[in-house]
């Protein structure tokens, strides 16, 4: 499973991209985030407020109940802030 981090999620975790193999209990977005949170202080800080975190699975926006599978590309990022006029 490939994980990508953007904007301040990249800054706080210190990671842009990584390959991971989560434990068997990780089957959806919510359980993935819960597991990531326990990986260390950087992750705990980055994921402290999940209302400020968006998740994409295979480049589409995903919700907590959406499934994650080996081989998926999962991205974590804050709400988007493109051109603001």
């Amino acid at each position: 499973m490939k994980l990508l981090y953007f904007a301040w999620l990249k800054t706080k975790t210190g990671i842009a991209e990584e390959e991971i193999t989560p434990p068997p209990g990780v089957t959806d977005v919510a359980s993935l985030l819960a597991w990531l949170k326990g990986r260390g202080p950087g992750f705990a800080a980055a994921l402290a407020d999940l209302s400020a975190v968006r998740v994409a699975v295979n480049q589409d926006y995903a919700r907590p109940g959406d499934k994650v599978r080996p081989g998926d590309e999962i991205a974590l990022f804050p709400p988007v802030t493109g051109g603001r006029a």
């Binding site: 301040w8 480049q59 991205a75 804050p78 051109g83």
Partner: protein
């Protein structure tokens, strides 16, 4: 048509290319977003637009297909830049051509509203008071929500 690029674009040349040879086009509505100074809020020197390569193109493509399905459009173009931009630089171009001006206005505004809530771009602003990641605005979600199908 979708383009995500570091380089600037020329709105006049894009208009020529989009309309060339299609005599059914009666009106073209364009939006050009520019890096502006938020006077009163915090001054700005420059900013960097980070994006998610691959997802950006996918999301822009979906939004564009949605607009083509909802309005009778002859042509459509979205150009979005990323990377470091200075005050006054162009950020994004949305250009919509149709036989009918109402369709062109509605579709262009729809695309701009959705871009700002769906396209995976993040602004990192640099100013005299320091640098920071810009936070999302609730007003952008509200603007996109007005297009939700009832």
């Amino acid at each position: 048509m979708i383009r995500v690029q570091r380089e600037d674009f020329d709105p006049g040349r894009e208009l020529e290319a989009l309309t060339a040879g299609n005599t059914r086009i009666g009106g073209v509505v364009s939006f050009v977003g520019v890096v502006r100074d938020f006077a009163g809020e915090r001054p700005l020197d420059a900013m960097t637009l980070e994006h998610y390569p691959g997802m950006t193109e996918k999301q822009l493509g979906q939004i564009e297909r949605e607009a083509m399905a909802r309005w009778p459009l002859e042509a459509c173009l979205i150009v979005h830049r990323f990377g470091r931009l200075s005050l006054g630089d162009r950020i994004v171009l949305v250009m919509v051509a149709s036989s009918h001006r109402d369709a062109a206005f509605d579709a262009c505004r729809f695309l701009v509203d959705w871009l700002k809530t769906k396209a995976p771009f993040w602004k990192f602003e640099e100013g005299p008071q320091g640098s920071r990641w810009v936070e999302a605005q609730a007003s952008d979600d509200a603007a996109a929500a007005r297009w939700a199908k009832r």
